[in-house]
Amino acid sequence: MIRVQREDFDPGAELTALTAENKAVGGVVSFVGLVRDMAAGQPIRAMTLEHYPGMTEKKLAEIEAEARTRWPLETSLIVHRYGRLEPGERIVLVIVASSHRQAAFEACAFLVDWLKAQAPFWKEEETASGTHWVDAKSEDDAAAARWRKPPHEAAE
């Protein structure tokens, strides 16, 4: 399941709801991304996440579907916020449940890396010197590239 929303979410409530009644789940791995008060060595006051409504939901659903073809998952959830967020606020929640913990860890890391590189969100930061759009980090592309299938597998 995926949700794109302005408002905050409750990680514990999502986690409980996601796995209630599914007793095949042995391990649940979750990721919560938070706004940090520093970015590139500079204090930041807030950030604003802009997104592409419609396409964002579509890309998140594609990413989730891809994870479910790669790992044997019982269930999964991606919640991503947009709008202005201050340090300490939650940005994104990814929860993956599987009967096997290793699958859950890998799929959750994959989803986070992949959505950072593939989901249409753009971050604007507010610092003492004004607001500016954040440049894409090559480390985010590198993290996503870890999960790219080698050509001989992709061709199968």
Partner: protein, 83 residues
Amino acid sequence: MKLLYFAWLKTRTGRAEEDVSPPDGIATVGALIDWLKTRGPGYAAAFAEMRAVRAAVNQEYVGLDHPIRSGDEVAFFPPMTGG
């Protein structure tokens, strides 16, 4: 054809979206950009650094050689910096 601009492309063009009717012969994303750049200094600035511009047609990421047709939704934006 509906155009959408995000992040600093929106700031530079001065608009989030617009409807345009490019002249005949504008058949690819790249040709559309070349045409847009003639429409004013904001557009020229938005598309000055093509290394940092990405495009989507009908909500799929595409390259500059991707075909476009009337009725398409074409979006321009910098590389994603989500989450």
